[in-house]
């Protein structure tokens, strides 16, 4: 039996291709949503994946540093290093920066501190250039920021030079990451204008004058001798990363550190979980629901298209019935056309994905399983749409041929 569906498609190929392209564009949005969903999960865990560390120590009763703000004293780095089982500790500091360039362009990025000299950024996925070699004024940026090697950026009172370029390094909010040393991060974070510094200095003098030490210099001498003078602490860091010595049990060290009353301790897996289930949870669910909505809309649109295609050839279907065509001839015609439409739409969606997804500002991560799943969804929609068309097709009345 000749293939009626192919012949019907061939007769008005332009219309078929345009229809399939339209559907394909709709399906490409479904695919893009899947990719954005996956990309969001991957982006969210970039920082813990890059920094590593067996344990993350943050401010007491917070879920920092990604879920909420956290501030711990930088001296904690040394305190924790003394704990049995700990091999290495690193300070971690981060802040969001929005920088106005001389040409008026706004650069938005997340600054992440590398714990110089323990961590120079050698584990970063460098595309060009190198890791940090100096403790100050060098930075490694993600290519999404658009700065070339050797470019400079004013941050705080200093100028930083791009020495390395990474790929795919973004924060959970999608901003490109810029790596500098922790000390530079803190310097940028705590930078104050001259007037603010002058006012702060005067305020300190005023506070000291009102204190027991200011009122009576003898108190100051006595406090100095007893070691009770208030310390001027270095600025706090966001978190402390802990690497354990080989063979050490993570839970044991975590339990030991958790007894300290000024900190909370998480394993790296718990940090990832906090990110995925906490920080990006709403966005993740929103995209998931939007994706479901798109699939439903696609199904309705495709159902209507197949129905319209069926209505357009009701006279031919009536004629087929008049000539004594079996039901399976009509079933094959409608279902095959619907599946062909779905297949073309799928190929268009894949093509759009290949061409356009790299141009998206955020990561769109489409994996093979997603492509297979989309094919399955489209096949399901095609069959359902075909059944809608088939119902109409089977109502074709041979009498229509005589009435035409």
């Amino acid at each position: 039996m000749m293939d009626l569906a192919i012949r019907d498609v061939r007769q008005d190929l332009g219309r078929f291709i345009l229809t399939a392209a339209g559907l394909g564009m709709l399906m490409s949005v479904v695919l893009a949503m899947t990719g954005i969903y996956n990309g969001m999960v991957v982006d969210a865990t970039v920082l813990p994946d890059v920094y590593g560390g067996d344990l993350w120590v943050v401010q007491k009763d917070t879920q920092g540093p990604f879920a909420e703000s956290s501030r711990v004293p930088s001296l904690l780095v040394d305190r924790i290093r003394a704990v049995p089982g700990v091999e290495r500790t690193r300070a971690y500091a981060t802040l969001n920066v929005q920088n106005q360039m001389p040409d008026g362009e706004t650069l938005r990025f997340t600054l992440a501190g590398l714990s110089w000299p323990d961590d120079l950024g050698n584990s970063l996925p460098l595309e060009q250039g190198r890791a940090l070699r100096q403790p100050h004024y060098e930075m490694v940026v993600d290519h999404a920021l658009g700065l070339p090697l050797g470019a400079t950026l004013e941050m705080g009172r200093d100028t930083y030079t791009v020495v390395g370029i990474t790929s795919g390094m973004v924060s959970s909010g999608g901003d490109p990451l810029v790596f500098v040393s922790v000390s530079d991060t803190l310097r940028i974070q705590n930078d104050l204008a001259n007037e603010a510094l002058r006012l702060e200095r005067e305020a300190r003098v005023s506070r000291v004058r009102r204190s027991p030490y200011g009122r009576d210099p003898a108190n100051l001498a006595r406090a100095g001798a007893q070691g009770t003078l208030p310390a001027t602490a270095p600025p706090p860091v966001t978190a402390v990363l802990v690497d354990l010595a080989p063979g050490q049990n993570v839970e044991t060290v975590k339990a030991s550190l958790s007894q300290w009353s000024d900190i909370s301790v998480y394993t790296i897996e718990e940090e990832r979980d906090l990110l995925v289930r906490g920080v990006i949870d709403r966005a993740r669910r929103q995209i998931g629901l939007f994706r479901i909505l798109l699939v439903v809309i696609s199904a309705i649109v495709m159902g209507l298209i197949v129905y319209t295609m069926t209505v357009d050839k009701m006279l031919s279907l009536s004629l087929l019935k008049l000539l004594g065509a079996k039901r399976r001839v009509i079933l094959r015609l409608i279902l095959e056309e619907s599946l062909l439409l779905g297949l073309f739409a799928y190929l268009v969606a894949l093509l759009i994905g290949e061409v356009a997804f790299d141009l998206f500002p955020r990561r769109v991560l489409v994996e093979d399983m997603d492509r297979v799943a989309l094919l399955g969804v489209i096949a399901g929609i095609s069959v359902a749409s075909g059944l809608v068309g088939l119902r109409k097709a089977l109502s074709a009345n041979p009498n229509e041929v005589l009435a035409s």
Partner: protein, 240 residues
């Protein structure tokens, strides 16, 4: 010579069709009895609304009758108003149709339209192609069989439609106003094709027509008025 010629292929007895009930009751076809033999072309004349098309759709197994029986090649198809066999199969194997507008399937070319009538009955593609080409060739369509219907003239479309109606060698060919859309010359050509094909294939051809210009090409004329079918007699073409 076809061995079926002269045999009764269609026997209609007491066929009637009533639409509606009570005050809206309309007897479109009063009890009708007649036969048609293989190889003859029978014209059914009558004014619009006289019941010609109703009779044709009942014989074409498209419309069920209210009462009566219908036999094709001596086999019961409808008995006392009830179908006794699978009508789709009978339509596929025993009947051929030609209409006022050729009603070719627009996405199939001429050859494919003809092949379709064979292939829906399970004839292999190669055989159906060979038979379709041979028949179209014999109807003078050898050079146009690959053209799509939209590229064919009215007369060419009707020739393809006749080929499709004849290709599976049906016992009965039903034609509803097949020359209405054609000019006089092409109308005669089409009726000549019916006559020749009916004779070559041993089919009875029933032609509903208003076209008196071509009656000299039919074997017998029946006239329908107000649902009543009456024999108007044989023409000079009647084959003995």
């Amino acid at each position: 010579m076809n061995e079926r010629l002269g045999k009764i292929v269609l026997h209609v007895e007491g066929l009637s069709k009533v639409y509606g009930e009570g005050p809206t009751r309309l007897e479109a076809l009063k009890p009708t009895t007649f036969d048609a033999v293989a190889g003859e072309v029978v014209a059914i004349l009558g004014p619009s609304g006289s019941g010609k098309s109703t009779l044709l759709t009942i014989i074409g197994l498209i419309n069920p009758p209210t009462t009566g029986s219908l036999m094709i090649n001596g086999d019961d198809v409808i008995k006392n108003g009830q179908e006794v066999v699978n009508l789709t199969t009978v339509r596929r194997q025993q009947l051929g149709y030609v209409f006022q507008r050729s009603n070719l399937i627009p996405f199939l070319n001429g050859e494919e339209n003809v092949r379709l009538a064979l292939e829906i009955d399970g004839v292999p593609a190669r055989e159906s192609r060979d038979r379709a080409r041979a028949l179209l060739d014999s109807l003078g369509m050898g050079g146009r069989m690959k053209a799509m219907p939209s590229k064919l003239s009215g007369g060419e479309q009707q020739r393809v439609a006749i080929a499709r109606a004849m290709i599976h060698q049906p016992s009965i060919v039903l034609a509803d106003e097949p020359t209405a859309a054609l000019d006089s010359s092409r109308g005669r050509q089409v009726m000549e094709l019916f006559r020749d094909s009916a004779h070559a294939n041993g089919a009875a051809v029933l032609v509903v027509t208003h076209d008196h210009r071509t009656l000299d090409l039919v074997d017998r004329v029946l006239e329908m008025e107000d649902g009543v079918l009456a024999e108007k007699g044989h023409t000079a073409n009647t084959r003995q």
